[in-house]
Amino acid sequence: MTASPSTPAYGEETGAKDRRAATGDRLLDIVGLSKSFGTVRANRDISLHVERGEIVALLGENGAGKSTLVKQIFGLQAPDEGTIAIKGDAAPIKDPKDAIRRGIGMEHQHFQLVPVMTVAENMILGHETTKHGQLDLEGARQLVRELSEKHGLAVDPDAEIEDLPVGTQQRVEILKALSRKVDLLILDEPTAVLTPQETDELLEVMKELAAGGTSIVFITHKLREVLAVADRVYVLRQGSVVGEVAAADTDARGLATMMVGREVVLRVDKDEPKPGADVLRVADLVVLDDRALPAVDGFTLTVRAGEIVGVAGVEGNGQRELVEAIAGMRPPKGGLITLLGEDITKANPHQTHVAGIGHIPEDRERHGLVGSYSLADNMVLNRFDEKPFANGFVRNFEAVRENGEALFKEFDVRAASVMAPAASLSGGNKQKVVVAREMSFGPKLLMAAQPTRGVDVGSIEFIHRRIVAARDEGAAVLLVSAELDEVLSLSDRIAVIHGGKVVAEMPAADADRTEIGRLMAGDH
């Protein structure tokens, strides 16, 4: 969630701001940068600069061109026009290797981790140390442990990336960027799936680094984070810089308005819920995680039609396994799941879809989209074989395209066309595609895991309104989010999960932030 009025205004802290008495020592200087993909003008004549030791935030709607901009700084893409000077050197940045050599480090929005390798192996990739010609893996593990200790981001050095939930992958990706000594650190949405505590830790780390002379370019959609750490903010809209402000001179509302070009409602407005019949019933559910340990352990919960039930919990307490079990992606070890009275405990993902579950998965890249398929096809991934998208064995491309175009407009997806491959979309727009697909077929149960991950404030507002609207039309909604603010403001009822079971359940009206925080930490 974004800065709701109740969040403390971190921007008020002063210490950080004094750093801005900059030395006039430009670490990064971009002049007249433009970049197009076919007809999409991702960056138009962008000029900006970053001083040594300065934290600069890039804000902008999904598809505004933030990632494209930083990818060019890191040598991943070449600008069409304009120059990027690093420490006064305007030689083109040939590739990431060149960027690394010139002191740039980057954390990527689309994680750059090798799935079949361990955390330690990923951490040292590209700057390995060897002992007698042999990889020093023990040293790598040690490095991971030290980094994770130092920055308060817990990861197991021997875990394989593909077994990790996105939140942990995010931590690895950040630690990887921090593992090399750099002058300019680029962080592309590092906090998208971090827990609030982890986010705060990271913000502290950023301040320390900046105090030590590292410059940071920070991309995020969360305005409170911007206000908490940034010295200056650039706002991008449709590829152009539309504003530049000192963080001290603005607030969340001001930033949101600059980004979207209109006032944004930062609160969720909704009527009292009118709960109906039980839709989802989960009883004594036991689900094993990838290491065959019970991650969900005796979970019981009921979600009724017309209500939003939020599952609050520290990541890694079984949320992922719970959602996967309900969606049919992970067979439970024990217990019962029913949807409108029908037993779906052993159903596969297709069957749960047919039964009426819409599932917004937490990991959109892996479980939400097929990158090489067009957007239109992605919009019907779960029912490409149903009417009107197919007649028997034959697909109806016309219907698929029309459906895609309609959802495109409705959910304000920004991309070249519905025929563009999903991989070419910006992160937040990918998320919108998944949300659009799962909400558009009228699910009986909408199960949303991190539904607004990486989505800009304007679109968060929109997605929240759509979730509430679905509820009002009688859908049951199960919301799982690492954003406590989102759970608090959107839910009608809150279930706190700890150690794989519900430790407390309460109407959202009675929920108290600190109380929930305590329960989440296992204090009950």
């Binding site: 990818k71 890191f74 991943l76 893409q77 070449a78 590739d95 990431p96 290797k97 690394i100 050599r101 980057m106 990527h108 689309h110 750059q112 981790l113 090798v114 799935p115 079949v116 390798m117 192996e121 990923n122 040292i124 990739l125 590209g126 700057h127 390995e128 060897t130 010609g133 042999q134 990889l135 021997d158 990158g371 991989a423």
Partner: protein, 331 residues
């Protein structure tokens, strides 16, 4: 311990096979040695060729031109040896010509992003064409590569006479498998190679030159294919014949898959395949069972498939094998 629990079934299978081999040896020393010796000579080119496949696919390039690369190696090795009367010159020529074919695959697919399957087919066609066109009959070598005895090691019962007493290429193959396996899983080069074959954009963003890694690995691998060819025309037999690789390059790809893209397992798979082939020919010769010959010929394939499927479980190819790397995409 962690290693053992991860590799339990493979390790147990290996131990079982070794025990079985020694039991067999205890029962009939002569037959055991001769069968396993046959298995190893059969396996040598397969092992080398499977290593070619492993090096390519581990770095993201599918090589179905191994057959052609071997054929060219066998051809140029043999005729160089015949012309110079030096087997060593022949071997060097074989390896170099293999590398040339490797470089062809590397540059067409990695640099110019030609389809990898098509490039492999082109290699096979060119190889068959060239070696048939320039083939001259009547040439022969006076002898094959000399046998070498490794002191001490060759005295080990069963294993000694089979593996540590033989031609230089067979002996080198043992070393190559061990080095490649170690390099792939324990060295910087290996980590980078695997990253490039699994998720090239992650390697790229870590500052690794994906294109250079692929060019290098595919070219070096070509040299191994050339060596496998040299084995056929100068160590196993002193002759070159048209199409003498007889599908071994393709069989090697199957061995690579059976071996889960790991050199040591591929070695074991090739050896097992060789052994079942020896078994099949024994059965045929001895007339113990009266099965149609076609079924007996099937035996090696079926047994290898069953044993390896049981031992290895589910394996996955390197994720990026077959896909060209284009900068700036997918990141």
């Amino acid at each position: 311990m962690a290693w053992f629990s991860r590799n339990r079934s493979v390790t147990l299978t290996a131990v079982a096979i070794i025990v079985a081999a020694y039991v067999f040896y205890a029962i009939n020393q002569r037959v055991a040695v001769s069968m396993i010796d046959f298995a190893w000579s059969f396996a040598v080119p397969l092992v080398l060729a499977a290593c070619v496949g492993v090096m390519g696919e581990r770095s993201g390039v599918i090589n179905i031109g191994i057959e052609g690369q071997m054929l060219v190696g066998a051809f140029s090795g043999f005729f160089t040896a015949a012309a110079t009367q030096s087997l060593w010159a022949g071997v060097i020529a074989g390896v170099l010509s293999g590398m040339l074919m490797g470089a062809f695959l590397a540059w067409t697919t990695v640099k110019w992003q030609m389809d990898q399957i098509i490039a492999g087919v082109v290699i096979n066609i060119i190889a068959t064409g060239l070696t048939s066109f320039y083939y001259k009959s009547g040439q022969s070598l006076t002898h094959v590569m000399p046998n070498i005895d490794i002191p001490l090691l060759s005295k080990i019962p069963l294993i000694g006479p089979v593996f540590f007493e033989g031609g230089p290429i067979a002996l080198t193959t043992l070393v190559i498998v061990a080095i490649l396996h170690f390099a792939l899983f324990r060295t910087r080069w290996g980590l980078r190679t695997r990253a490039v074959g699994e998720y090239p954009s992650a390697a790229d963003t870590a500052g690794i030159n994906v294109i250079a890694m692929r060019l290098l690995n595919v070219t070096i691998a070509g040299g191994l294919a050339g060596l496998a060819g040299a084995y056929l025309s100068m160590e196993a037999t002193p002759t070159f014949e048209r199409g003498m690789t007889a599908g071994r390059g393709f069989l090697a790809l199957a061995i690579m898959i059976f071996g889960a893209w790991r050199p040591l397992r591929a070695f074991a798979a090739a050896l097992f395949f060789g052994f079942t082939s020896a078994l099949a020919s024994q059965l045929q010769a001895s007339n113990i069972v009266s099965l149609p010959q076609q079924f007996i010929n099937l035996l090696p394939y079926v047994l290898t498939l069953v044993v390896l499927a049981a031992a290895a479980g589910r394996v996955r190819p390197p994720a990026a094998a077959g896909q060209p790397f284009v900068k700036g995409e997918g990141s």
